[in-house]
């Protein structure tokens, strides 16, 4: 029996721009996961570890990361590693990541396919690889595998490896290395190790074409990621056994909090977060606040959530609520601070002007004239604020500013 671990799309060095300061942490985690996967290959006594493209996010990642990656892959001499350049890190020549000193000095058990070729992994077991040399192409990279396979003797296990999009209608782009859905059969392969998409896909071409997805999730919603494939071969022509092995370091979870049913949302979210609490250090959480909330209620929920999310590895709190006063709060405000009530009505008018929905906008009340567009523009001009800049978040912030400052000065 021949056993290998198939992985792809490590995307080492990826940006995670939306996570700001937490991005380095998310990047570092991926290398940790790779290290554990190499160990896993050793403990599972895998004969080879395949990396079917996109080990790196880009060819121009820094040397430190390259050196660290090579060091991780070379750490277990018993684990032979076969790396395929993908569309993110294609073999393009002297400037590509595969020509860095770390790769050129890598030990023999770490092999990079800089060109299409065949390696005999074991007697009667051949690995045929078709690396990518560019970032986009309409050519099926598995065609090379068919050529390579034609040169092999019969009666051997043929394992293909390439990188691209299974040509599933409406799921792939024509210039994104489309791979025929019968590519493995066409090339006479026993198994075709693919990489490119970030979620597990193992039912193509009778299960011979396997896309393990990214071993470390990189976005909310990639629920079928965080795995590598353990593949076992009993002999040529016999179907390989494919088993997903979870390797992800971080779990990515996303929740909503709707003020429409604030109590229920609080209960549900509280329970979910409590459930995740033991694994908080290994979880990326995003909570989206939605609905209409009074400043006080929104502030209270934010404070509650900040406390709940503090222990998670990475957390995002997206506030999409609309600040609004209740009738009682508004009446109280009008009674105590009539000018402020008028100003709030003016803010509503500004929002209406910005949205183009002036009709139905709130009136300032107490006989005060509503803010006109010309007045709004005259008001905005000295501050050099464009009406279009008054997005809902800005106006929400304006309302929060009013209320927060009011609270501060009223103390």
């Amino acid at each position: 029996m021949f056993r290998l671990i198939h992985s792809a799309d490590w995307q080492l060095g990826a940006r995670f721009a939306q996570f700001g300061a937490a991005a380095p942490r998310l990047r570092a985690v991926r290398l940790e996961t790779l290290r554990r996967t190499v160990e896993l290959a050793r403990t599972r006594e895998a004969d080879a570890l395949l990396i079917a493209g996109d080990l790196f996010e880009d060819n121009q990642v820094d040397d430190a990361l390259v050196a660290a990656t090579v060091a991780v892959l070379a750490a277990e001499p018993a684990v032979r590693v076969y790396v395929l350049p993908g569309n993110h890190d294609p073999f393009t020549g002297p400037d590509c990541v595969w020509q860095r000193a770390a790769w050129l000095k890598a030990p023999p058990h770490v092999h990079v396919f800089r060109a299409a070729g065949t390696v005999e992994l074991a007697p009667g077991v051949h690995l045929l690889a078709s690396p990518l040399h560019q970032k986009q192409s309409t050519t099926d990279p598995s065609l090379k595998l068919a050529e390579l396979a034609a040169a092999l003797p019969a009666g051997t296990i043929r394992i293909g490896m390439t990188h691209g999009s299974p040509a599933i209608e409406a799921r792939h782009k024509p210039d994104d290395f489309p791979i025929a859905l019968h590519a493995a059969t066409r090339a006479g392969l026993d198994y075709l190790a693919l990489g490119h998409w970030h979620n597990w896909l193992a039912d193509t071409d009778g299960g011979k074409m396997v896309m393990p997805g990214t071993p470390e999730p990189d976005n909310f919603g990639n629920d079928a990621s965080g795995r590598v494939a353990l593949v076992e071969f009993d002999g040529p022509g016999r179907p390989a056994r494919v088993q997903p092995l979870p390797v992800a370091t971080l779990a990515w979870r996303s929740f909503d909090f709707d003020f429409l049913a604030a109590d229920a949302a609080r209960a549900t979210l509280g329970a979910a977060l409590a459930e995740l609490a033991p694994a908080a250090a290994r979880t990326v959480v995003r909570v989206t606040l939605a609905g209409t909330a009074s400043p006080a209620a929104a502030a209270e929920v934010r404070a509650w959530l900040e406390a709940k999310l503090a222990d998670f590895a990475v957390h995002q709190l997206r506030d999409e609520t609309r600040v609004a006063l209740s009738a009682v709060e508004l009446a109280d405000l009008q009674a105590r601070h009539p000018i402020l009530a008028q100003v709030l009505a003016d803010v509503d008018r500004l929002e209406a002007f910005a949205n183009g929905t002036v009709a139905g906008a709130a009136e300032p009340g107490a006989g005060a004239a509503p803010l006109t567009l010309a007045e709004a523009q005259a008001l905005l001009a000295p501050a050099k604020v464009e009406l279009a800049a008054l997005t809902p978040p800005v106006l929400a912030q304006l309302r929060r500013t009013l209320f927060r400052t009011l609270q501060e000065v009223a103390k």
Partner: protein, 897 residues
């Protein structure tokens, strides 16, 4: 607030306690002369109401009576919406503050010391400075409702925060909300920390800092992206160069092979061509050898024949030599014989010649002697004739040299003198003097110098003058004779000139007068005739000689030659005896014989020359024969030597050598033909083709090297740039950029929100203020109309409640600053009244007018009293004046107590 009473002690001129009050609720008039202390009293009341009791500022010290250190005491009874109060304050040495409230019919202390001050501040809504005494702006509403004496007649500004704003809010019926004020202040602070007034990020603020960070990061990011773009471009160049290198390498290999083939072909052809050249070079010598051998064989044959001929010629020459020698000997013999006969013949001719010459010499001597005799005879005749001729010539020379023409000229001039003299005598003066005895007379004529003439006695001397004569007669005197005729004078002048000319001509002709001239000319003509005759007789004797002397010289010469000839001949007597005919006959005979003898001698000489020539010719023939003999011998020797040389070159014989040369030449020709056949077609183009192939190979090699260099350079750059981790750098910068952008967005949003919130509040407050402008303006307008009696003008306020102007419309209103002082103080009084009335709606208010209407005329004064009287229904008005007459009968008059 309204006032009820004021008490002072130790204040200014009030060293003893004084009380002013009670104040009426309406109009109060405090009338006193200047310096009575009216204003001092009210200022002290203000200190009591608004200053800390512990204040020791100069303003407080100024309350002390001059030159004392008494502690000023002030007590003020007043009323607000909160009740009726009394504040008592003692300043300086014993500071004390006590606030009392009227409760249950008595004053009840409610606070003291600092508490009293603070409570009082709350009641009066006043403020306090950080330290020192208060100023009117701290006095709350009273600061505006107290029109102070001598202060600028301007309405205090209301645009600022604090009390001004408070008043505005009250006037605008806007609730004075301290929370909103603080809210607005905090918003302003927040906005000001982030924004400039112009809406730009404030330097040092979070927004500007984030923007600066963003700019720096974007610069860095742009640099990274430029490097990335450079990398892409280099990558493109690398791929292009790499593809070119592959193509060029293939072409280079093809060119290399082609160049090798061309080189080999060219080398083979070159070898063949070299062989051909060698064979061709070998063919020449073989041909030359053959030619030389053939020539030598021909030469040997020719020389053999020539040798035979030379030998035959040699034998003939030997024969000719012998014959010539014999002929020469015979000629020499004949010559010698003739030469021996020659002297005899010559002697005969010489004797004949001598005889002939002697006859000729004798005959010449005889002829010379005859010629000398003839000449002597001519000399004698010529000498006589010549003497006669000379004598005649001398005579002729002694005569005047007159010619007939000259004589005619003399005669003409003499005729003219005579004619003129006759005319003169007929026209001029004529004085005839005939002295009795000899005398002298000085004659002056016509202005000329007087001339003296001697007058012999009795001789008449006629004196003529054309016009006047001035005579001095010795012993008698002066006689002056004058004539008036001008023609006589002219004729006298003409006469003088004619006489002068005649005298000159006579002098030239060397004759005294014309008659002598005629005689001289006749003598001269006669002598000339005679001379001519003699000369004609002399001429034949002279012959070819010019004169007699020449003839004599020639005769002498002939005599000398005859003598010389005779001496030379030295004729013998016998010879002398012979006559000329004989001598001539002898000379003729000798002359006749001599040519034949000389001809015979010449013939003999020619014969002798012919013999000599024959002898020489015979000798020459002998020489020629000998020379021919020698030449023949030399030719034979030469030919023999040449034949020997030719034979020596070919030891094996000339024929064998010729055969060998012919064989070698045939073989060389065969080699050339074979090599020519072996050369490839167009072999001569092969070297050029080889050069082209080599050049093409070099070019492709150079291009390949250049492209490899470019590729390697690009590769080096790619390796270098690829190792820079541009993506990671971009990622890091993007992370930081995102973080800075978040900061910027947050700061900007915060700034905008704070600014907008502030401005919205401000706008609402201004809108509320503006809402009451119209009623306030109407109230002011009504008050002004009442004061001025004019109804066509309206008062306009701005949004800060400042008086903008007065006029029929806002646009045509006169600015407040342009109004007269009287109008200004009246308007401000009206404004204060209006404001006080507005404020009094919520709380009783006091309006204090401290001598403010100093520029108001009596008519207006009356109207003001009407206005104040009306306003006093709702306001407490306190008027301080030194003109009690103006307010007489008005309100409550207060006196110091």
């Amino acid at each position: 607030m309204i006032l009820h009473a004021i008490e002072l002690a130790y204040v200014g001129r009030f060293r003893t306690p004084v009380r002013l009050g009670p104040f009426a609720p309406g109009l109060n008039v405090i009338s006193a002369p200047n310096e009575a202390g009216k204003s001092t009293l009210l200022r002290a009341a203000a200190r009591g109401l608004f200053d800390r009791h512990t204040t020791k500022s100069d303003e407080i010290k100024a309350l002390q009576p001059a030159g004392t250190d008494l502690a000023p005491f002030v007590a003020v009874e007043f009323e607000t919406a909160a009740g009726r109060f009394r504040i008592e304050k003692t300043f300086l040495q014993t500071p004390r503050s006590l606030l009392k409230e009227w409760q249950g019919g008595a004053w009840q202390p409610v606070a003291e010391a600092d508490h009293a001050d603070k409570r009082l501040q709350q009641l009066l809504q006043s403020g306090l400075p950080g330290k020192g005494a208060t100023k009117p702006e701290h006095w709350g509403l009273l600061g505006f409702l107290w029109a102070r004496q001598g202060e600028p007649a301007e309405w205090p500004g209301l645009e600022g925060a604090g009390l001004g704003e408070k008043i505005r809010a009250r006037l605008a019926r806007v609730e004075l909300d301290p929370v909103i004020a603080r809210l607005q202040a905090q918003l302003a602070a927040t906005a000001d920390a982030l924004l400039t007034g112009g809406g730009k990020p404030k330097v040092g603020g979070a927004w500007a800092t984030a923007e600066a960070d963003l700019a720096a990061l974007e610069t860095d990011l742009a640099a990274v992206r430029r490097t990335q773009a450079d990398l892409d471009e280099i990558h493109r160049r690398y791929r292009q160069a790499d593809a070119d290198v592959g193509r060029l390498e293939q072409e280079h290999a093809e060119r290399l092979a082609a160049a090798g083939t061309a080189r080999e072909q060219a080398a083979a052809a070159e070898r063949l061509r070299h062989d051909l050249e060698t064979h061709r070079r070998a063919l020449g010598p073989a041909q030359e050898r053959l030619g030389a051998v053939t020539a030598d064989a021909d030469a040997a044959a020719q020389r053999g024949a020539a040798l035979a001929a030379a030998r035959a010629a040699l034998r003939q020459a030997e024969t000719d030599t012998q014959t010539a020698a014999q002929a020469q000997a015979a000629a020499r013999t004949r010559l010698e014989t003739a030469q021996a006969a020659r002297p005899g013949r010559e002697a005969e001719v010489a004797a004949l010649r001598a005889k002939h010459r002697r006859a000729q010499a004798l005959l010449r001597g005889r002829r010379l002697a005859e010629e000398a005799g003839a000449l002597d005879r001519r000399v004698a005749q010529a000498t006589a004739l010549a003497a006669e001729t000379a004598e005649l010539a001398a005579k002729l020379a002694a005569l005047p040299a007159l010619t007939p023409a000259k004589l005619r000229q003399l005669e003409e001039r003499a005729d003219a003198v005579r004619t003129l003299r006759a005319q003169t005598e007929a026209l001029g003066l004529t004085v005839e003097l005939t002295p009795e005895r000899a005398a002298a007379v000085e004659i002056g004529e016509g202005g000329a110098a007087p001339r003296r003439e001697e007058l012999p006695a009795g001789e008449t001397r006629r004196l003529q003058s054309p016009q006047a004569l001035d005579l001095r007669l010795a012993g008698w005197g002066r006689v002056t004779v004058r004539s008036g005729a001008r023609d006589a004078q002219t004729a006298a002048a003409d006469l003088a000139r004619a006489e002068t000319a005649l005298a000159e001509a006579l002098a030239a002709a060397e004759v005294p007068d014309v008659a002598a001239g005629r005689e001289a000319l006749a003598a001269r003509q006669e002598l000339a005739h005679r001379l001519k005759t003699k000369e004609a007789a002399l001429a034949p004797h002279l012959g070819e000689f010019a004169d007699a002397a020449a003839l004599q010289a020639a005769a002498a010469g002939a005599a000398r030659r005859a003598e010389a000839q005779a001496a030379a001949v030295a004729a013998t007597a016998e010879e002398q005896a012979l006559g000329s005919a004989e001598w001539e006959a002898a000379e003729a005979a000798a002359a006749a014989a001599l040519p034949g003898a000389e001809q015979a001698l010449q013939e003999f000489g020619r014969q002798l020359d012919a013999l000599a020539a024959a002898e020489r010719a015979a000798g020459e023939r002998v020489g020629a024969a000998q020379l021919a003999l020698e030449r023949g011998r030399a030719a034979v020797r030469t030919l023999e030597a040449q034949i020997a040389d030719l034979a020596a070159r070919y030891p094996a014989g000339l024929d064998a050598a010729k055969q060998a040369a012919q064989l070698a030449f045939a073989q060389a020709e065969a080699r050339v033909a074979a090599t020519t056949l072996a050369l490839p077609p167009e072999f001569e183009k092969l070297p050029e083709r080889n050069k082209r192939a080599a050049a093409a190979l070099q070019q492709i090699a150079d291009t390949l090297t250049a492209r490899r260099s470019e590729r390697d350079e690009a590769k080096g750059k790619l390796e270098s740039l690829g190792g820079q981790g541009l993506y990671s750098r971009e990622t890091e910068l993007t992370d930081r950029l995102n973080e800075a952008a978040l900061r910027r967005d947050a700061a900007r949003t915060q700034a905008w929100c704070a600014r907008l919130a502030h401005d919205l509040i401000d706008r609402r407050k201004q809108a509320a203020t503006k809402a009451v402008l119209t009623p306030l303006e109407e109230r002011l307008t009504a008050a002004l109309a009442e004061l001025s009696g004019e109804t066509g003008r309206r008062v306009f306020l701005d949004e800060q409640l400042q008086i903008a102007g007065v006029g029929p419309t806002r646009e045509s209103a006169h600015a407040f600053e342009l109004l007269s002082q009287g109008a200004k103080e009246q308007l401000l009084l009206c404004l204060r009244l209006a404001v006080a009335q507005e404020l009094a709606a919520d709380e009783p208010q006091v309006l204090i007018l401290d001598d403010v209407l100093v520029n108001t005329d009596p008519v207006r004064q009356e109207r003001i009293l009407d206005v104040l009287g009306a306003a006093a229904a709702r306001l407490q008005i306190v008027i301080l004046t030194c003109h009690d007459d103006r307010y007489r009968g008005t309100g409550t008059v207060l006196k110091f107590a």
